[in-house]
Symmetry: C2
Subunit: 511 residues, 2 copies
Amino acid sequence: MAMGGTRLRLLFLTLQLLLISSAKITLRFPSPAFRPESSSSVSIKSKLYETKYYTQILDHFTFTPQSYQTFQQRYLISYKHWGGAKKNAPIFVYTGNEGDIEWFTQNTGFMFENAPHFKALLVFIEHRFYGKSIPFGGNKDAAYANSSTLGYLSSTQALADYATLIIDLKKNLSAVDSPVVVFGGSYGGSMALFIWLLAAWFRLKYPHVAIGALASSAPILYFDNITSEYSFHSTVGNDFRSESENCYKVIKGSWQLIEDTAEQSGGLDTLRKSFRICKNYISAGALVSWLSTAFIYTAMTDYPTPSNFLNPLPAYPVKQMCKAIDDRKAGNNSNTFEKLYGAANVYYNSTGRATCFNLNDDSDPHGLDEWSWQACTEMILPIGGNNADSIFPPSEWDYAGRAQSCEDAFGVQPRPNWITTEFGGHNIQRVLKRFGSNIIFFNGLRDPWSGGGVLKDISKSLVAIVAKEGAHHVDLRFSTPEDPEWLKHARRREIKIIENWLSQYYHSSSS
Amino acid sequence: MAMGGTRLRLLFLTLQLLLISSAKITLRFPSPAFRPESSSSVSIKSKLYETKYYTQILDHFTFTPQSYQTFQQRYLISYKHWGGAKKNAPIFVYTGNEGDIEWFTQNTGFMFENAPHFKALLVFIEHRFYGKSIPFGGNKDAAYANSSTLGYLSSTQALADYATLIIDLKKNLSAVDSPVVVFGGSYGGSMALFIWLLAAWFRLKYPHVAIGALASSAPILYFDNITSEYSFHSTVGNDFRSESENCYKVIKGSWQLIEDTAEQSGGLDTLRKSFRICKNYISAGALVSWLSTAFIYTAMTDYPTPSNFLNPLPAYPVKQMCKAIDDRKAGNNSNTFEKLYGAANVYYNSTGRATCFNLNDDSDPHGLDEWSWQACTEMILPIGGNNADSIFPPSEWDYAGRAQSCEDAFGVQPRPNWITTEFGGHNIQRVLKRFGSNIIFFNGLRDPWSGGGVLKDISKSLVAIVAKEGAHHVDLRFSTPEDPEWLKHARRREIKIIENWLSQYYHSSSS
């Protein structure tokens, strides 16, 4: 058992590596096309936006010959509800994150739904090195070749891209006095967390470009040991535990069981059958990753209405998973696997169309792959440790392991203190009490990232909105008639605050 | 005359180029050793500080293999009056500017004189690529070779250097809770303006590293046409005019006279004799540069007490120059040159030891040369135009000329909008009214840079201190018993405000 425990801990290093790689484990059959769960008047079939490209500079912060290279940065723009430059009508900007901007745009209902009320121009800017915004001639093979080219993929360069593009766009629209509000919220089942950081950071670093930011589920305190390394996985466990103690215990006990089974002769075949794994590949580690991915992402997106990101999910999916576990009778091991399979099915097979699950799928339909570069350079979040209460086996955050795997993969060493050096984070209450303004930090406490969020007001205009029942940036999703009151309330508050920013701005301008 | 006027305007393009190059025109004999004019208890002969080096990263914002190169960054540190880490005693940091840090440090009396009162640790950090803080192996030839290496000389990299060094230093001193205040003020007769911008920008970009900034004579609004291109030279003219209308008129009339004389046969010889120019080199353009340098730098440093930067100057040197002009009788041309010579002598020869003046001196005793790189990349201040009222001939700011000369010199194109993109500046009142805090903007209105300064309070904690009688960052100089009341008053206000920042900080920490 002791040996087994050690092996289990080693096995669970995969969980930490999971945090480096994007969601590799997805279904082989094609993701359903985008289909918002909204009943709102915004028809997704109509053309929501135009696609444009901006000639962006490769390196804002140096002046080497290389730095002057340019690339085409994609942005999507919707004039449909804009009040126009003459009225200084506002501009809402989505500061793109680690993936294809179209995919994010189509999942950001909040901006579309509120554009008519604010008469806002909508702009969605793609993050460099993702989607179609590829430096080095637009050639992904060249851009992703090695650290000489990937080196220009960084948060600070991305923020400067946004500032440059926004300023130029406003000039070209003769709308230099139109106030800009930035929005951040990432969708998708990857461990992605980039963008909603970017919105908060953008307001802090470029207050002259954006009058305010809505930073939804931004774990700006999850760097440099400001937040406990255990927080993320603890919240995952608490989410399941809040549904039923039995559910929590079955999941928590399953890891050892999987490992023990895998060790037995014919055990992998048993596991394959139990979990309907395709014949091409199985290992205990891959199965553990596959299951824990399902639990983690389901906790992140534990929304009160059906959703569809990497995978379609029903409303309250954690409850559904626990139902799948609790409704099956207690019994022998294969019965435990049947329960887990039922839970996994909620995440991987809500359509019921899957015939088998592929553990060796490295497709990347949403273009998230380069997140692994960012996780190896500056985005060092000490996540992956599990304490005794965790739903996963106990383990410690392994920085040395991360550094080594980054060295192996890219030949780079992470800079683990850089993010807090550049953006702060330590003593944020004290630092920002008399500095900065106009940021909404939304957090849902069922979101595993929420432990790294700003959960208390910092000042009158650095406001924390906390939804006990909320998951990851639920506020930014398209609304539905089934939305619960707490969610409607959070959105109303956000709209009210943004209205205040704008009226302050117009008041300052006229005085 | 019309032709002459055109030629004169062309001649005056040299004035604009002057703003690119550092002060090339200095006396051949060695500059007197540092000698503060202070009678304060701080003895400059005793060891004021220790010299240390910090291993700094070449490029904070990218992750290419090149970016990981390091260099030795020099900083000077004085523990003498520090209250210590246990008491969280403050740290005063001078964010070094475009030259040798020792030279600047020895001219920053304000920090030394106030260290005992605040029990402050003093740290003076040298700017990358200046002094002894040379990347690429500490080898100036390698570092300055071309844009591939010089490209890493930029304001944003310098600010990140300071943040990184300060955070590390505080860790090493176990003083992470000691509040940091940054100071900016540049000394020296170059057109240098970098550092005092850096202090303000540092507070805006790194509020988590510095609780406040004293930005003395920071022309943060002199970019991107926020301020009139004529402002700088207009102030120079007003300074002389405020002493006497005759003085102003003699100087204003002299340029045409010099040009006409130079055109005549034997004219250059006449000019050489009139101005005691050494035999190695003379041209009308060089003479004009030499004279205008004297007028501009004397206006900048028109202090109420004797000073000694690039050249030693008496108290109220503009008054002294005008006295030299006004006291000589009106008369023929050679008499006009005699007057101008008398004025130039105030700036170039206060010791009376010069036997002739060298117009072809490219020595760089204070290591300011690399400013020309910065003036060719990001530091694009539209200065150099003169309106009809100017003491210099009418001319327009010539961006195309600057860009061409930068292309010729370095093969780079300036990025004229970058500084306002990164740091803002437009509508600063509106932008910063509800953003940012704890910056003192000091400006003396006799300082030609003051037109680009913040001259009105932006908020309760973004405070403008304006001294009508003051010149360039006079507040930061060593005090003397002869200091006028307005100067003492400005310094007392600054100290009071810094005291408030600190007590707010300690109050926030304890609560």
